[in-house]
């Protein structure tokens, strides 16, 4: 999995691709912590190219969402693939995370 971070303008966009699972969840967690500690404002995680997320990955989503709340900023998720959205829905995460089917909608949500 690759993690790309674009903080040039507007909300920070973190793009993921491939598989997010126990093999790379802690690396992703560290990356998110680093981004959040800089206090750069709202963050969008782009799921467009993420094919798979395991429970270890979901945990990082949740802890990031909790973490960012403390800074007063928000976290949104954009364009989950069908497979990933199924997992988000099955675990009830769709009820507590802000998930949008396009990047524009995610940007417009803040």
């Amino acid at each position: 999995m690759e993690i790309k971070i674009d903080a040039t303008q507007g909300p920070v966009v973190v793009s993921l691709n491939g598989r997010l699972d126990a093999t790379n969840a802690s690396a992703f967690d560290d990356k998110m912590k680093e981004v959040l500690s800089k206090n750069l404002g709202n963050v969008i995680i782009s799921l467009e190219e993420l094919e798979y997320v395991s429970s270890a990955g979901l945990r990082v989503f949740l802890s990031s969402a909790k973490e960012i709340k403390k800074t007063g900023s928000q976290l949104a998720f954009a364009k989950p693939t069908e497979n990933v959205f199924k997992v988000l829905k099955m675990s009830g995460m769709d009820t507590i995370l802000k998930i949008y089917d396009s990047m524009d909608k995610a940007k417009g949500s803040f």
């Binding site: 126990a22 395991s54 909790k66 099955m90 675990s91």
Partner: protein, 568 residues
Amino acid sequence: MEDTPNINLSPAASDDLDDLFIDEEEGDTGTVKSRGKWKVMIVDDEPGVHDVTLLSLSDLVFDNKEIDFLQAHSGTEAKALIEAHPDCCIILLDVVMETDDAGLQVVRYIRDELKNNLVRIILRTGQPGQAPEDKVILQYEINDYKSKNELTKQKLFTTIIAALRDYRNLVTIDGTKRGLEQIINAFPSMFEVQSMEDFISGILTQLSSLLGCESCQLDSSFLTGSSSGNITIVRGTGIYGQYNGQLAGTVYDSEALELLLSAATQQKSLFAGNSCAVYFKNKTNHYNMVYVNSNRQLNEIDKNLVEIFCNNISMAFENIEKHKIQQSMKLAKDIQMGMLPVNFSDTSSRGIDLYAFMRPAKEVGGDLYDFFFIDDTHLCFVIGDVADKGVPAAFFMAVTKTLIRVISKLYTGPGEILRIVNDDLCKDNEKSMFVTVFLGIIDTTTGMCLFSNGGHNPPYIIRSTGEIKALVKGSTIPLGLVEESEFKSDEFTLSQGDTLFLFTDGVTEAMDQQGQLFDEDRLEQLLRENRGRASKEIIDNTVSALADFTIGAEQSDDITMLCFNWKR
């Protein structure tokens, strides 16, 4: 461990420690007297309402306890009275007294100023126009709303019993939670102490506050014994404060001595009425005990709490001895393993072939499993995973597990149990931890199983016909995240020879040396191949398949499984 402490202290008691207990000993005798009664407060400016209420409820007995009535005739009086009696269970509260909203002001005072959220407040109004039901129940933290003419003797009786039941359950949950918080808060500080004296003081202080209450008298003592039979008091509090260094035989009455000797012989903690003898393992030929005597009956919650505390304390001795605390991971592991039931014979005698397994990772996660009978025919089984590692995760796991045990005895629906556990975990959850939990309750006579899933990996049902499927329905979010979440209950029925297999993601996300995951496909294949086998065999085979798969790689997460066959 060869160098476990041989406790041999000079009998110098710390003054600070003694001070701590003087207050408790003196107590407030006024409160002590009314223990064993439910305090119900009547607040009304009409004397007639007081008379009718007293008459209607005077013979009420609930849980073998009578009612002790407190009476106030104005809002101001009520505020003073509730402040003096924080253990009041129910307030029957009039709205219009010295002012049109005097009663509502009392509600605000109790909930916001006194922060008393336990007392059940039942608003009784003769003029519903002054306080419309819809508006009031939403805006004020009251528990029930009745118009005065609605409260016939029978209705009042029912209302009070329901409120008392609520109150009792709340107190139980609250007590467990507070006790566990104390344990959690106690451990870090107990591991920082530099001397054995401090450590013993710490144990006595913690145990006393665990088992104490505001008006309790509590006497405790720390003892050391050896295989030669002598038991000596190392340090005492309360009435035992003056006996440091003396032989137990010369100090205790025969009842206490008998309890201590039985505990020493059986090498376990024992409870008898108001007393308990807590036994600490010690790997030399010395052992330690704490004897606690309260002036109240010790209950199930007390026992649970003391056991959790003691399960974890014995290893602390080793650390204190070495004056260094490098082994927090070992502590986490001990907490986790110490809380797992390992006796599977109870279930097999009732038609359930159940087996469970856990192997903590090096950096312990917070996996848990549990199973216990709620009544003769209903088995509750639980698997869960705390989303963190190390000692904090292990404690969060301990809290979750204990809450589930306590709340399962009070509520029957899996969804409802998880809802209440969740609400409790959310409160004061500063570390933002959360836990996935799957909880099921199976009727062992019919195979019907109710369950609720808080964000946990779906278990598998393996039918005797060969069909295997993941139980994906009914999943909601993990516990500890969002207060007042709803948790759905769902159901399925097992037929003869069907198997249920629960696991944590340490199984499916076990990694081989190349970083490949074991994943669901391999697990399903394995379960298919093992269909019809005994639960222990299924789990053993999974464990060895995992070992083959991950050979040469380090285990990164706890691996936990629980499996049972119904009427195999």
